[in-house]
């Protein structure tokens, strides 16, 4: 299959995704990431501590009741599955492991900050750029401002670390 032998122009890829996202918007809602991961976190902890303990935490019975029947989980799982299939078909699947301790530390801090940021704002980068802003929600403009400034600060710090 030729499709898996050459790379795709990101403009073409994102244009196709955008058109599909309009259909998803009609069916259930715009593409978001973060809600699915939140639900995965809730389901995982619920499987460890049980439903009774979980219900003692207000967030998990007021905001997110852990359930597998939550469509956003399947967007996230689908992205991982699609990438796996695509990487296997294009022979681009191979294990990559960060080599340096500093990389592990940066990735750990980065992951934690992303998780805290999503929960604080109740949106992620995808719903900021490809959900709230196209829906012209003022929260989207605030989120874009925060994300761009945050990325600038992160880039500045990262550059300093690399130069050091």
């Amino acid at each position: 299959m030729d499709f898996f032998k050459k790379s795709l122009d990101p403009i073409v890829a994102l244009a196709i995704i955008a058109v599909l996202d309009i259909f998803l918007f009609l069916i259930v809602g715009a593409w978001t990431v973060g809600g699915g991961e939140t639900m995965i976190a809730g389901l995982f902890v619920k499987s460890l501590v049980g439903a009774k303990e979980m219900n003692r935490i207000p967030f998990w019975h007021l905001v997110f009741k852990p359930t597998w029947a939550y469509w956003k989980i399947y967007i996230s799982l689908g992205m991982g599955f699609g990438a796996l299939v695509s990487a296997l078909l294009s022979k681009e699947f191979y294990w990559r492991v960060p080599k340096h301790l500093s990389e592990w530390v940066m990735i750990t801090i980065g992951g934690l900050l992303m998780g805290i940021g999503i929960r604080l704002s109740f949106v992620c980068n995808v719903s900021t750029f490809l959900g709230l802003t196209p829906e012209m929600n003022l929260g989207g403009y605030l989120a874009v401002s925060g994300l761009v400034i945050g990325a600038w600060v992160g880039t500045f710090v990262y550059k300093k670390i690399l130069e050091a």
Binding site: E37, G82, G111, M136, A151, T155
Partner: protein, 235 residues
């Protein structure tokens, strides 16, 4: 009306398609911001802007004819603070939420690690929310300004249409025009960079005749070393 299982199936098909397209195109939201700031490289930024233009017309068009499911989402300071932290985090992790899933699918253990800690961060934040009940979450948003919760109420294309009587698509076209102006500006900047590089080319061929100059460049221009280091993360 689509059933819950239908929603989950549609979401999985959409997610799988996104996974394939992002894997084949190497698109990354982190790179769309980081590379533009660090290397003046706009490959991912242009794709993001094109998607935003299509979606703005699509979403506001659907809202104009009474279709679609816009997010019922109040505007709050928390969105600025949260995404500020997220922006720092995605640069540190070398991947955003989408590329973390895609790179995990490609066998990148670093991306899987980032996802695991993203989930840890989400859970820890849920505990903090349970003490503070701030910021207001979806079910507790009223749609009205709430000074104590640092919320400004609900304001999007749908409320604009309702309050002004002007179809949402009109506002959507204006926003698309602004995004297109930004896109054109990036194209102009890229052309100017290419022209400057073409002028410098004779100097580069002179430099190639002196191999030691390459090493000196790496010392003088840390950005080139930085790009090499960042590329090891697999963007």
């Amino acid at each position: 009306m689509i059933t819950v299982y239908g929603q989950c199936a549609a979401a999985f098909v959409f997610g799988t398609t996104v996974g394939v397209l992002v894997q084949r195109s190497r698109w990354c939201n982190t790179a769309a911001l980081r590379d533009a700031m660090l290397f003046k490289s706009y490959r991912n930024t242009k794709a993001l802007l094109v998607a935003m233009m299509i979606l703005t017309v699509g979403f506001t068009g659907m809202i104009s004819i009474g279709n679609g499911n816009p997010m019922r989402f109040d505007v709050g300071i928390n969105q600025f603070i949260g995404l500020f932290l997220f922006g720092i985090g995605m640069v540190f992790a070398g991947a955003c939420t989408v590329s973390s899933w895609v790179k995990t699918g490609e066998g990148n253990i670093g991306a899987l690690w980032a996802l695991l800690f993203l989930i840890v961060g989400l859970f820890l934040s849920s505990l903090v929310w349970s003490f503070s009940y701030w910021p207001l979450a979806g079910p507790t948003m009223t749609g009205h300004a709430n000074a104590a919760g640092l919320q400004f109420g609900w304001a999007d294309a749908l409320t604009l249409q309702r309050d002004t009587g002007v179809p949402a698509i009109v506002f959507g076209v204006i926003q698309t025009g602004a995004l297109y102006a930004l896109y054109r500006r990036i194209l102009r900047r890229e052309r100017a960079t290419l022209a400057a590089e073409a002028q410098e080319r004779p100097m580069s061929s002179e430099r190639a005749a002196r191999p030691a100059a390459g090493l000196a460049d790496a010392v003088v221009n840390p950005a080139s070393s930085a790009r090499d280091a960042l590329s090891t993360l697999g963007d």
